[in-house]
Amino acid sequence: MALSPVTPNNKALAWLEERLPILTVANSVMGPGTPTPRNLNYMWNFGSLAGIMLVLQIITGIVLAMHYTASTMFAFDSVERIMRDVNYGWLIRYMHANGASMFFIVVYTHIFRGLYFGSYKAPREVLWMLGVVIFLLMMATAFMGYVLPWGQMSFWGATVITNLFSAIPVVGESIVTLLWGGFSVDNPTLNRFFSLHYLLPFVIAGVVILHLWAKKISDSGNPLGIEVKSTADQIPFHPFYTVKDAFGLGVFLIFFAYFLFFAPNALGHPDNYIPADPLVTPASIVPEWYFLPFYAILRSITFDLGPIDAKLLGVIAMFASILVWFFLPWLDGSKVRSGNFRPMFKIFFTILVVDMFVLMYVGGISPDLVLVDLGPNTAAILEQIIKAAPEAVKASIDSGMDINQAARIAGVNDAELAKMLETYRSSIQAIHLGMLATAYYFAHFLIILPVLGRVEKTLPLPESIAAAVIKPKTMPAE
């Protein structure tokens, strides 16, 4: 790792720099002394945006912790007090709550940037895996943070998610009791969630440093996916990318401010403004939007697989859907990094993005919601007719018979038949769409990517970054 030394003119600074080369490190990470590929597009803004969101969440979170009380007796009221009485409390809390959503928007974009441009491929495997670790930590942090206001969704979300661990054979129940510190989600649970919600962001900050360190070693990727060959391919990070990042930040803050000031509750659930009640379950328990794709995968598994029951299998599938990212560098065998040069990959990548949105949609609706009504289910209705038929005629109705004819033989009247036609219908429900989307999700990573690596005919790569992006100067027309 080549550092670009800084020798300050100021004597005091020079004295410090000699003992702790902090300016040298800063210069080598994001200063003029950081040569960076010259062709980074706006998709490369989201790393620094994520860093800024982390800092913002930590600052607003520390302030909120000064006014929040982690006790089931006072938690809900202390949050309401922040909203109503604490000076600018409403602003800081809305920044924190919407900031979490913004953080996830940024990070999802950052992850899918990586998926499209092959940012996980050698030599950046560890850089990518550290990113997955950060994402997992973010999910844990966000989940525990959502519990703190102690509203109905807080309580029941915590109940449903902690109960997932009960699916683990033998030790499941003990693990759940250990997580709760009691016999249900209660005061001990709230207290430990607060403690960990405060701790984990700093753990994330630590892993972010490792993430940046790994990036320094392997250098930034770039949209062409080819390695830097000479200094002609590079420009200094500062001022070029500091300015580009700052511009992107400005645009992003407009987006953030829209939610913050005009729709601060649009991304939350109204039920969380009802204090938690352990004796009443809300009509539907919906996680925050950023968990919906994974929640959909959890709920889509309704079948047993050998000795593994549906509940455990669902939990395994949900965790596997993220853990599979760790193996991505080895699952995708294509030597070409950038999706721009992979015509078939591009199509499947687009399907994956659509698939994620489908999962997000399915995760937010009831699994039995009828999406497409396919008309009466004749087999089920015939079964009902046979059940209703007198013993004597039962044998004369067979499964291939017309319903009306069968009804006549069985003596089922028109009103009864109409009711059966209404009750027994075939349909495509949300759960079916969820199963399909879950199947594609896993197929994409476990089948499509490995196969594409072998069969795909990629487009020719440019000679160098400079050759691809610097247009030759043309003589002005006479």
């Binding site: 449903v160 109960n163 510190g181 004796l279 509940k311």
Partner: protein, 184 residues
């Protein structure tokens, strides 16, 4: 006296020194593992939480066909005063091939079959099923219905339809008298 022995040990002192290293490191590792335990066990229910582990309920006011809901260990407990029809319905379903096979008589106290005591937590993902209040949807089998993911329980609290894998659990309880029930 033991000079010869000592010299021998010094020549291939690997044995003695390695043993000391391994023994010391090993003891250190065991010590560290032991020291970790309090940090894990502190997360388990504390003594005061355990002390609140039982409640006594007066059930004299619960009419036949009615249910009440009491809080026990932070969870809802359903106490239903079953009608003879409900008991009969439950017993008829004993051997029709239930998802989680259990006879009704195993789930109640002999001689007090009318009293059904259940932990009101759906065995799917922990929601509170409906069916205790008079206006509630009792599901297809006249027991309880979980609105979260559509599990139906019968008049013995057994799972009949839906994603829940197990019957509603029966807590530890005892009748202290004809009208007082102790749960836990």
């Amino acid at each position: 006296m033991s000079t010869i022995e000592d010299t021998k040990n010094h020549e291939d002192d690997a044995t003695r020194r390695d043993f000391l290293h391994i023994a010391a490191t090993g003891m250190g590792a065991v010590g560290a593992a032991v020291a970790v335990w309090p940090f894990i066990d502190q997360m388990n229910p504390a003594a005061d939480t355990l002390a609140l582990a039982s409640v006594e309920v007066d059930i004299s006011a619960v009419e036949e066909g009615e249910s009440i809901l009491v809080k026990w260990r932070g969870k809802p407990v359903f106490i239903r005063h079953r009608t003879p029809t409900e008991i009969e319905e439950a017993r008829l379903a004993d051997d029709i091939g239930l998802p989680d096979v259990q006879f009704d008589e195993e789930r109640v106290t002999a001689g007090k079959e009318q009293w059904l005591i259940l932990v009101g937590v759906c065995t799917h993902l922990g929601c509170v099923p409906l069916g205790t209040k008079s206006g509630d949807d009792k599901g297809e089998f006249g027991g309880w219905f979980c609105p979260c993911h559509g599990s139906h329980y019968d008049t013995s609290g057994r799972i009949r339809k839906g994603p829940a894998p197990k019957n509603l659990s029966v807590p530890e309880y005892a009748f202290l008298s004809d009208t007082v029930l102790k749960i836990g």
